[in-house]
Assembly symmetry: C2
């Protein structure tokens, strides 16, 4: 389920505060979801709770990390070093747990060679070689919309298994490749939608 990362984060905070045990009720409260949902989600991982007591925080953190595949590093490549790409490259939380940015790629020859964070920007022609030699598993697309599909195709052809798309356009990938998208414009428009409807029909 897609709520596991959320639980993971909450549980890590609890572990920092040396909290040893947590009930589904507390976890639900902190994660902003229903308690039954928490229990159902966690029961899919197997049975890690103790009736009458709750869940062991450390054990649950470990179990979720294992389920999410966070026990080993995933090499990440960022394609497109415009505003957003640079911000992502410098973003610390990125590498925080399990994700290591191992390559920055851009199509603009003027940018190639430039250093962002502690990596040099490489040309897109080298993409195949980079993905293969550094075992890149996840490709991040931060290019303009027009380039997104082609970059995606090249990443997939090079053997990337997952793509995170920030470009404001629909990209298609073969079914065996995972795709997630993050779209600022869409998010804003959804907020605008609610705002608009509140204005039209005030409570």
């Amino acid at each position: 389920m897609s709520r596991l990362p959320l639980y993971s984060r909450v549980l890590l905070e609890m572990a920092d505060q040396s909290i040893g045990t947590v009930s589904s009720e507390q976890l639900a409260e902190l994660a902003g979801v229903n308690a039954a949902k928490v229990r159902k989600d966690l029961s899919h991982l197997g049975s890690y709770g103790t009736r009458g007591v709750g869940y062991d925080v450390a054990e649950l953190v470990a179990e979720i990390a294992r389920e999410l595949g966070l026990t080993h590093d995933w090499p990440v490549a960022i394609v497109g070093l415009g505003n957003l790409g640079r911000a992502l490259a410098n973003y610390r939380g990125f590498g925080a747990r399990g994700f290591r940015v191992v390559a920055l790629v851009d199509a603009d020859p003027a940018k190639v060679g430039e250093t962002v964070g502690d990596l040099a920007i490489e040309p897109i022609a080298a993409l195949d070689e980079i993905v293969a030699s550094r075992n890149v598993a996840i490709g991040v697309i931060a290019t303009p919309a027009a380039a997104a599909q082609e970059v995606s195709d090249r990443l997939v052809a090079a053997g990337v298994g997952s793509i995170l798309n920030f470009a404001p356009t629909v990209v298609s990938v073969p079914p065996e490749v995972s795709l997630r998208k993050v779209d600022l414009a869409t998010e804003l428009q959804i907020l605008s939608f609610y705002q608009q409807h509140r204005a039209e029909a005030p409570a």
Copy 2:
């Protein structure tokens, strides 16, 4: 529905190409969804299609824009001018359609006064006054996780109607305020999840 922004984008591209009319089938293809879903979504806006022909692109664009509240500008304030906040402030697609960044706010006195894009960073103490005088409708939180809830509370207290949260933490808002979140870490972890499970159980 949350698919309207997607349709809107596809339709705008079509309008650029001087395409006058579109069937639900075509639109579905380009948006990567089911044709029946497109029709059902659009039927919620009222009846704007012509049987046997399809939908008029220009008319549909206008109708969706109206529904989404994109016919007038929404003033946006960005709080937190770290890596991500700066990228957002410089992001052009932001202001592209209906969203105008009217204020940049940061808690760090060292940053106040600095110019990003064409706006000066203002102190967080001025938040109330800024929101009120500039009619800020949407607040964007790009602060560290620890500050997110407090910033959110202040934005809400100041009268903001919608919040877009980029900080990797759960923030709660009163029910009359809309909240969306964008969380890079979560997206990566979801990709990691699929990657992990593909590795465990290869097709």
